[in-house]
Subunit: 320 residues, 2 copies
């Protein structure tokens, strides 16, 4: 079914079909009805390709992230997708993980979409800057580059608050940050909050235990940290997944949480409240972050950089 078919069926020109379908311009009621009947009878829907070519718009937005695992990415993708679909836009995804030619692929993607949202730390800053010259771009959970805008959550302050809580309220001293600050802007900011809290109290923070962000990495981290005699007072994990892994490993060794070792996370994943002991963590609105990123891409008026608030959630795993 093409416009021409419908035009033939309704005995009008393609221009009129287009006008009726899109509800623009003036069309006589009788003519309009003939066209609507033809559309109804055939179930005609315009080919998105033709529309895109004519309009110079693609009706699609892109989402770029490194790889994915755990509830964080699940929320991110679903938040983004929901908003995009609501705006009648389709969603392209690109996982760059472990691929060396990711920059060219991102640029390639940019040619097929009306805007791209990229997760901070996924591609090089220069690539983001370049991308932003091609198509509206928003960096999620990272810093804007070029003409891109950014949307992020308050990581640093929340982690500083959490760390201070451990240091002051619980009097802990041997804290180890679990996560790689170099891995992503998010983790970098969290680690910055961690060190700031120490410095503010005249303490010097330990080196972070650099691991990736999946729960099995938390298991390994706990095995390294809790195995020998120099066990830390607390493992301050860069996300909840790590904390869950660490929790399983700690319990598996017969250690008690929080008595023998304190554990904290970040994200407030659904399971955080359900594990024993419930996890002290920081809630961040990931779904909203992604949804707003999509909205920023699709909206006409461009918003500036956005910072979403986070909340420290104190449960029992810190000793409270």
């Amino acid at each position: 079914m093409t416009v021409r078919e419908i035009a033939r069926l309704a005995g009008v020109s393609v221009a009129t079909v287009s006008r009726v379908y899109n509800g623009v311009g003036q069309v006589a009621p009788g003519t309009r009805q003939k066209v609507l009947d033809a559309i109804e009878a055939t179930g005609y829907r315009p080919d998105p390709l033709g529309q895109a070519l004519a309009a110079g718009r693609y009706g699609a937005v892109g989402l770029v992230f490194p790889g994915l695992s755990g509830p964080y990415f699940a929320e991110l993708i679903q938040g983004f997708e929901s908003e995009a679909v609501r705006c009648r836009s389709s969603v392209h995804i690109l996982c760059t993980h472990m691929r060396d030619d990711s920059e060219s692929q991102v640029v390639e993607m940019a040619r097929r979409v009306d805007g791209v949202a990229v997760l901070g730390g996924t591609v090089a800053d220069e690539a983001v800057a370049k991308l932003s010259g091609l198509v509206p771009t928003v960096v999620m959970a990272g810093a804007a580059q070029g003409t891109a805008t950014s949307i992020r959550t308050e990581n640093r302050g929340a982690m500083a608050e959490l760390t201070t809580h451990l240091l002051v309220r619980h009097g802990l001293r041997k804290l180890v940050f679990v996560g790689a600050p170099e891995g992503s802007p998010d983790v970098y900011e969290r680690y910055t909050g961690f060190t700031e809290a120490h410095r503010d109290l005249g303490l010097s923070p330990a080196e972070p235990l650099r691991v990736t962000m999946e729960s099995h990495d938390g298991v390994r981290a706990a095995d390294r940290l809790l195995g020998n005699g120099t066990r830390p007072d607390a493992m301050v994990c860069a996300n909840d997944e790590l904390a869950f892994g660490a929790l399983i490993a700690a319990l598996g060794r017969g250690l008690r949480v929080p008595q023998d070792v304190v554990l904290t996370g970040f994200d407030d994943a659904p399971m955080a409240a359900l594990v024993t002991p419930p996890l002290t963590t920081v809630r961040q609105p990931v779904r909203e972050l992604a949804a707003r990123a999509a909205a920023m891409l699709l909206a006409t008026g461009r918003e500036g950089d956005v910072l979403l608030p986070t909340d420290m959630i104190v449960r029992a795993s810190c000793g409270c």
Copy 2:
């Protein structure tokens, strides 16, 4: 940059530019070089939209799934995406979760891609049949409908083997299947294997504990099952995530696994080998499943239905 620009720059016709760029037909070396120079100088890359319109192909494939979380979906998406990108195709995603108009959205997606892979149980069978009339379709982890093909893993046999192991090798009797058979073809098949194993031994299986598939559901399931006096011998979880949640909940109550309660999973997620005790489960090639689904969509010769093998992985959580 359009073909016309390049043609003008190189002093040739658009036809020649197209020939050079696509490496088809005969072009004189000198002419070829002029075109290549112009392409090089401008960084020209043909607009995918124009190509799609001319070729009647979109250079994109679609992936449809309910919602997502956990390692299963991570593997699925990444496997699909990797193969699609390898075949120079872009990836559209659609999450139907909790959306009532998913059928029309799937059809809408079908109009923008060269093929659609849908996860079994995501949309109604009739919708899949309809879809398969529109565009090449493959059902992952589910039954084919209409002209769609399917690719799945051997769920039933593996679960029957695992259940038999529990029943015969460990002499357990009170087994509870955790998962909703109605939720997806995958879980249905697993439950079928579970019941078959019972019947083969003249036993009658208990009703399944119907829960969704995320780890926090495993926590809740364990709380329900392990709380009162009628604790089962084993929780046979429909996937590893549920088992992890159940493990955390069990350990949190001071129960020992496998002495007090046996736990098994399905998927062999990375963490399965790392938890304490290591999880007895079934390994299924999710990544390969998804990659082959993408390949089936993109390949010229259509494959028939595919069944991928699974492996029972016996670790310590079953009592071995």
